[in-house]
Symmetry: D2
Subunit: 299 residues, 4 copies
Amino acid sequence: MAAEFRGIIAYPITPFSRTDGSVDTGKLTALIDRLVDAGCHVIAPLGSTGECAYLDDTEWHTAAETALRAVAGRVPTIIGVSDLTTDTAVRRAVFAQQAGADAVMVLPVSYWKLAEREIARHFRRIAESIDIPIMAYNNPATSGIDMSPEFLVELVAQIGNVTMIKESSGDIQRMHRIVELSGDRIPFFNGSNPLALEAFLAGATGWCTATPCLAPQPCLELYDMVRVGDYAAARRIFYELLPLLRFILTGGLPSTVKAGLALDGMDVGDPRPPLLPLPPDALETLRMLLSHRTGALVG
Amino acid sequence: MAAEFRGIIAYPITPFSRTDGSVDTGKLTALIDRLVDAGCHVIAPLGSTGECAYLDDTEWHTAAETALRAVAGRVPTIIGVSDLTTDTAVRRAVFAQQAGADAVMVLPVSYWKLAEREIARHFRRIAESIDIPIMAYNNPATSGIDMSPEFLVELVAQIGNVTMIKESSGDIQRMHRIVELSGDRIPFFNGSNPLALEAFLAGATGWCTATPCLAPQPCLELYDMVRVGDYAAARRIFYELLPLLRFILTGGLPSTVKAGLALDGMDVGDPRPPLLPLPPDALETLRMLLSHRTGALVG
Amino acid sequence: MAAEFRGIIAYPITPFSRTDGSVDTGKLTALIDRLVDAGCHVIAPLGSTGECAYLDDTEWHTAAETALRAVAGRVPTIIGVSDLTTDTAVRRAVFAQQAGADAVMVLPVSYWKLAEREIARHFRRIAESIDIPIMAYNNPATSGIDMSPEFLVELVAQIGNVTMIKESSGDIQRMHRIVELSGDRIPFFNGSNPLALEAFLAGATGWCTATPCLAPQPCLELYDMVRVGDYAAARRIFYELLPLLRFILTGGLPSTVKAGLALDGMDVGDPRPPLLPLPPDALETLRMLLSHRTGALVG
Amino acid sequence: MAAEFRGIIAYPITPFSRTDGSVDTGKLTALIDRLVDAGCHVIAPLGSTGECAYLDDTEWHTAAETALRAVAGRVPTIIGVSDLTTDTAVRRAVFAQQAGADAVMVLPVSYWKLAEREIARHFRRIAESIDIPIMAYNNPATSGIDMSPEFLVELVAQIGNVTMIKESSGDIQRMHRIVELSGDRIPFFNGSNPLALEAFLAGATGWCTATPCLAPQPCLELYDMVRVGDYAAARRIFYELLPLLRFILTGGLPSTVKAGLALDGMDVGDPRPPLLPLPPDALETLRMLLSHRTGALVG
């Protein structure tokens, strides 16, 4: 049976050992267990949140294998395989499929601004090397590349196993456009936390977010309320969660999520330089946001 | 005697073998010879033009060593040591110094938006690991990080061996600001081809450009005219060169420069995917631009 | 009893005579009748759609009086009193109150970029001269001034009769911010057609739109579905309406709405130069959009 | 003999009486006398600096006639005839010609975003109604309309008496483009103070600026140095002047220039609301900038 991608797609950070900076496979396993146990619908390791851009090949392989073993098929897994070069992205996609991933997520990271024909070729090369589905991921703020709804819908039409879109530009009109251009037929996912509420109304199939690392229940409840059509309840949950969502986004996902996990008793190490741990005042704000919101979590 | 950084700072591309895609050291040597022989004042390998973002460590080492051996001290050499992680940037800076570089150029490449304290720490870590001067390089379009003139001038003030600024944002008012904030004392270099003329008037010490790979003479003459204060002549040269400058920038430096070198009889291979070679119509435009401008070169 | 401002706030265009270009009071009366008869909840003459920026004082007075007489208290009326100078805005606000308006809408139109203290003084001067409520209107795209949620909420807190906010920036996060900053207590209205659906979920009290001039029923039904919490139905209506909403916005409100009314048999003249009537191909697109959507209207 | 438009084009503010707020014709005459006596090459009343957007027809007529009488043909006069409607712009252009203006300047002020065909018609209607030359003026920051170099050059090609371009976008590449597209044949003027130096090198025929109201000599000297090709001297003058240029621009031209004239003993009243006079701290900064720079003026 094909894996089902919908609901809360949870993005774990990648823990690093405080001793030698290596990928901490025990902590990664524990974090993923927690996310699956909480009820997250899909696990998405090695996304932006997972500092995939800062891992060398060996570390990336370790993290991918560890994550897949931890999920152990309880829910679908989407592995992020983004890289600056097409060759490395292809290698990682092949590795992910062989290791058992249900899908891969591809963010065309730019150094040079890429022309659309270059982005399309990048996707085609990856797609040709694997059989599992690909989620095309647009996030101009981190990747430096902005793919229009027109381009994304065309990508899905042209390349067989590119079947899903993740939109993180934060512009809800892009989602409207994807619905219109595809006749409401391409599953798209919202990757912008501040749009968590309205994206579902626009038609999003799921919410891609690192927030469940710190506060899984409100995310899951928001989605449940949407599923049963109780948008008033979803709205209440969203506005309660919004200060945390905004804080996580503004402070940088790896730094804020790692700090929040430490507050919750799970020391997952620091993010990699040039990233820095959260400064003390921000840490205090985060503590208040988490205790206020989810007493049990930090308490 | 300290190396002098001024004038035309030439950025070679990194040639790749058509056989196996490896760094073509023979071609890199030949290209650098050509640039030095033409009279370029400084050679700057492994910049953006040199596809440094797409090289693994071994390739990067090979390219750096080959370039330094090719220059052989005839003119100063600035090696680009940019990388996504601080650790790799440090390693490359140390390697560059040991291999004989006169300076390194550091572009803080972002994946996550970096806070100013993160960028400063990145520079400090690199600076502490070497003795040679550092050129702080601002290029928001490729790196995703925009360092203000205020931040750059402070960086130079705070970190002993950060001594030069390269500004590629294309905003001449940034250069005005650097002059004002530093009391006209920090050497800054223009990295935006369309500002080649006016940046010198604003006070730039040099022009960082890949253009000499294809047309060294007009670049050198423009600088000579500026040096003797003949701005009318500099203006004539600039406007003649402008269509080529704009074409190179718009088409992407590695793709256009590699295509232009092939037109000139030096096959340096293709840029690395996701970059693509120039499409046929653009190639035709480039041929016309080069033959029109520099008959001898393509002739 | 205080007027209630909620639901569909309909913005009539200002008809001009084809003979002498004067304000066509008969047509304005007929159009307003149609909007009230259709069930629109509030009428808002002399907004941007009403070409208020292009009317001299006499014309503006005529249009305001005609509109108020046409509405005749059947529903509340909000008159737009925007002008480049504070003095004229004050004069128009006073006139509107004396003529019986229930509220005025104020867009601080810029020529020079205004500082916040200048915008605040503009609002205060108008507020001091009248007793009726003021809707503070943010529309950076037409007015050249962008008021932040923080500034708008402070304006409502500081000035007694500034009681409502109209947000037309098209950024749903601004609405989230207004809700947060005001503790969900300031009524805000969405003025961006592409956000018609999601703004209600974010908490908007009403939708300010010229669309009812051409297609009142779907707008009213969308609002009714929102009121009863049937967001699935609201979504269906929204996506059916979206091509028309986008067309109206892209083509310019006065030009497209006047063209649409003419297609529907009500010739309201051309917009004032520099505005031009819709070109033939756009007119054809509009005809198809209207006939497809609302057969009865155009058929 | 045709008027010659080149050099320092000085923009007077419009003085208002402190008693009744009317246009102070005596002060306007005195200010223009001062500008002509100082050696400014062209006088340009009723530009943005002249608060043309805030004047009613009668006031505008008074200001235009007063200005032309004050210049009295000693140097050429360009009158700004911008307005939101084409009809008023045409009326003002006709009035300006009849009153003896040598040229008019047209900024297509937007309320609604105008399509290029609407802007072109606006210019054509004005051009057909007069015989004197028109300077097409691009200033997206104040007008809300951005005309590309391509559009501007086409406008000059298509409409006989549109013969000059004023570029105030602050982007020097627009000037490069005008030079290229027109084969260096259309006279263009720089209206962005921070580009005062480099625009001349790019090829500008003149500098449109309100700065001479406060400091005419450095502006004139900068131009003289450019004329004789002494760019090193021009550079020195520019950087000395730059803090004042930036202050004037940032603080808003009418407010800062009126404050500066008052410091110099010429009370020209306040700018019109919504504009406010300079706050005390900014006034103090201005006093220092002026005394430092031009002792004689304020001293």
